[in-house]
């Protein structure tokens, strides 16, 4: 009895670690969701002299329609009214209504899955859905499309030029997990953080969508797209 609370504290540590390791094992034991080769353009090494661990930051471009002056009306914005409705947002109110800003900005964001496609100019978000299977059936190529959890928020955007054009319903993606740890021995092959350094990283994404590094090719160039 004297050491009960101490034993329970130890048990909390054990159980928490047990859950984390079980999660990692399930992720790696299940069906692989994607196997991709990315480059220094898609996975950047951040310089940190105080941290000897190697963590890469996943870079992807948001929809290619944003300009410093607002959203270009002619650009490709797949996160439109129809897509946002399919993700569960309420889009009934006309964006020109005077209370529309309040109506859309106060809506609860949705937990979704986002598809990132590897193109010649880098990773770019191309679609979102509430279920992984739905998204994977739309993008079956596991070597060029990465699926990750994210959240989508709905908002109103003013279109080009200078935010004075028409207002339209749009959304934005956030909270995508972006850090990927590189363990030994792979971290030893990776060149130090340097804008000129080139490398390729082989990444596997497990059944629970947690990625891990399976190989590093220092000095390699190219897009990482399958030939």
């Amino acid at each position: 009895m004297k050491f009960t609370s101490l034993a329970v504290a130890g048990l909390v540590v054990l159980v928490a670690n047990g859950f984390a390791l079980l999660h990692a094992a399930r992720n790696r034991a299940g069906q692989v969701d994607a196997e991709m080769t990315l480059t220094q353009r898609d996975l950047t090494r951040m310089p940190d002299v105080e941290n000897s661990g190697v963590t890469l930051l996943l870079n992807f471009r948001d929809r290619p329609n944003y300009t410093p002056y607002g959203y270009h009306p002619d650009s490709e914005d797949w996160l439109d009214r129809a897509k946002l409705t399919s993700l569960g947002f309420y889009c009934s109110l006309d964006p020109s209504n005077e209370s529309a800003r309040d109506f859309y900005d106060r809506q609860v964001p949705r937990a979704v899955f986002v598809a990132l496609e590897l193109r010649t100019d880098g990773l770019i978000d191309v679609d979102a859905a509430t279920k992984v299977d739905t998204l994977r059936s739309r993008y079956p190529d596991r070597h060029s499309v990465l699926i990750l959890p994210a959240t989508v928020r709905i908002t109103l955007r003013n279109t080009y030029p200078n935010n004075r054009g028409t207002t339209r319903i749009s959304g934005y993606i956030e909270n995508t997990p972006r850090a990927i740890h590189v363990p030994r021995p792979f971290s030893a092959f990776l060149p130090p953080a340097n804008p000129a350094a080139t490398y390729r990283i082989h990444v596997t994404v497990g059944s629970l969508l947690d990625p891990w590094v399976t190989g590093v090719e220092p000095g390699a160039t190219g897009t990482g797209l399958p030939r």
């Binding site: 540590v13 928490a16 670690n17 390791l21 000897s52 030994r184 971290s187």
Partner: protein
Amino acid sequence: MKTSGLSPADAQKSADRIRTLREELRDPEIAEALALTPEQTARFDAWATSSLTALSRQFDIDTCASQKRMSWGMRIASTLGALAICAAVVLFFLRFWGYLDSWAQAAIVFIAPFAALAGTEYTAQRERARYFTGLMALVALTCFVLNLQVVGEIFNIAATENALLAWGLFGILLAYRYGLRFILFIALFLLVSYGAAFFAARLGYQWMDFGDRPEIAALLGVAVFVLSLRLRHERNSDFPAVYRLVGSLVLLLSLLSLAEWGRGSFLPGQTKNIELFYEFAGLLISAGLISLGIVRDWIGVVNTGAVFFAILLFCRLYHWLWEWIPKYLFFAIIGLVGILLVAALKRLRVQYPAEVAA
């Protein structure tokens, strides 16, 4: 004097009362009014000395004013020292973990909380004042935070709110086992954050965005405050004050946030009206907390209420006047309101002993 069954906080209160009484009895005016005989005075002195010695032997409490001042210094020094050691532990690990294989990294961070727990227990058995025990407990909690953080990073596991629950429970267990108020304060904040993150995640938010819906945290703040009235703390009689402090801080911070950013509210209606509603609700609740604190003699609640009342009032005046009047006049009005507040509190302070006497 019976010292069994007393908590360290109760023992300190008893010692303070005895010390104050002894000092008062030495005052010539009081001595004259009481007209104690030399035998009675000597008997009281002997009783006071033996009681203070017994309390001091069992609880390592402060028996004079200079000891008390030193204790505060030691508490501040040990807390700052603990924070610095925690930072050192984390930075030391980060500096070298890259040279280890994943299994070694995971093993080190898994063993670290157990080693720190053992150190905390060892220290607690060798000291009564809990300075080093508090330091070691904070290191143990930091090691556990580092443990889950590193395991998550090694396996690239997407962060979840469940880690907050594990850290909060671990902190609560340490706080209650060793009677540590600072650890309880941290643990309660972790558990409130977990509760808010849990409900936010069920609403569709990413759990880390729980601050977007401050009403959830406000309700949890009320729950923590009410817990201070419901839970019995015989061994740790100074813990309810920590519950009240955390509860009132969470509640008032949430109200302040809603008053400034009404879009996060669940209430229907225009954002401006919601912000106005929460501004006045915040003012009323902080005034209510000041009054409740005065009646119940809860100093922490009075101070927290007063600070938030002033901040909310400042915000209201800012929204009303900043755009409309010259800046010097705005600050003059703020100063005037501050003076009026002090006058009102002074009046309350004068009234209160009269009510107690009545």
